[in-house]
């Protein structure tokens, strides 16, 4: 689903890139604020807090938090390299947005997916540089950030159903957004490609669900967490 350069109109791609950079800044700020609040909470409950070179609970917790984000990002990157054949003459790979958002939250999930896409685009030509904004919108914003809220809405009774709904939304909505971007850029006629695009990605959403469920189980057991 990585859009290369050339498929999208330059104005649209540039606008989406600007929006994506703004969203990265917003999400990093959200993470920073939550950490700063944590500092205040820890500082309020401990009589002697050294914020200088000596590390205390905050530093250790922040390191652990970012180590978790790093691990999730490494897993997403690695599993995105694994293309699986779907239908005849087509392959697909995990997006990983739901996996990242469930384990790290919507803001950090967006950052994880964006960083993975940035590395893939700049170093491996997997997705265009100018098209990076569109790829971040499709796979990080829709595929991770928005999908997290779908997961939250449907996971009350069963976590598995929440993952299924989020993965289905993640893949289908991201592919629809991709189709709209291609249609607006004049690369494709939206109405003629709609059925083909959606039917192709329906199979992908089933694969995404199965892999996400398996990865969540393995990641949590490796990190000594409960699977609830």
């Amino acid at each position: 689903m990585h859009i290369p350069d050339g498929f999208l109109n330059n104005n649209l791609a540039g606008g989406l890139l600007a929006g994506a950079l703004g969203m990265i800044g917003y999400c990093l700020n959200k993470i920073l604020k939550s950490i700063t609040v944590a500092v205040g909470t820890i500082a309020g409950s401990v009589s002697e807090v050294n914020l200088g070179s000596q590390s205390f609970g905050f530093s250790e917790n922040t390191s652990k938090y970012f180590q978790r984000l790093t691990l999730v990002a490494l897993w997403v990157f690695a599993f995105q390299m694994f293309n699986i054949p779907v239908k005849s003459a087509t392959s697909a790979h995990l997006i990983g947005g739901v996996f990242a958002a469930i384990l790290a939250g919507p803001f950090a999930g967006f950052i994880i997916m964006s960083f993975v896409l940035i590395i893939q685009s700049l170093f491996f030509s997997d997705g265009g540089v100018l098209a990076l904004g569109a790829n971040i919108l499709n796979m990080a914003f829709i595929g991770s950030f928005l999908s997290y809220y779908v997961y939250k809405a449907f996971s009350n009774k069963s976590q598995h159903f929440g993952v299924f709904a989020a993965c289905f939304f993640s893949v289908m909505a991201a592919s629809l957004a991709c189709l709209i971007e291609l249609g607006l850029s004049g690369s494709i006629v939206f109405s003629t490609a709609f059925k083909n695009m959606m039917s192709l990605h329906f199979g992908v959403s089933c694969i995404e669900t199965l892999i996400t469920l398996a990865l969540l189980k393995v990641f949590r057991s490796v990190n000594g967490e409960s699977n609830e």
Binding site: D5, G6, T36, A78, M81, A89, S91, F124, S187, L200
Partner: protein, 98 residues
């Protein structure tokens, strides 16, 4: 084996498996681009390891594995840098608010 180490080994092992067994068929978007005849619009952007190929390594499997490992390393470094920046900014904000 230490579980923390295992959490780092799994992505490395996955990259190894991907270099051996990942499908070379076009992905879903490429298939759509081929079917609707706009695949020629794609512009090849120059990057150090374009298409997950390591320069000067002719063996395809080794080349994909090496670039995968480089990708993991780059991501690790990017998160290390972000951690340092966010940590120092958080301390700065807290000290100013005191």
């Amino acid at each position: 084996m230490n579980k923390k180490k295992l959490a780092f080994i799994i992505p490395i092992f996955t990259v190894f498996l991907a270099s051996l067994f990942a499908s070379k068929l076009p992905d879903t978007l490429e298939t759509i681009a081929i079917n609707y005849e706009f695949i020629n619009k794609a512009k090849e952007t120059s990057s150090p390891f374009s298409g997950y190929c390591f320069p000067f390594v002719e063996n395809h499997y080794a080349s994909t594995f090496l670039t995968g490992i480089i990708g993991l390393a780059l991501l690790y470094v990017l998160f290390k840098i972000t951690t340092k920046i966010v940590k120092s900014l958080a301390k700065l904000i807290y000290e100013e608010s005191k």
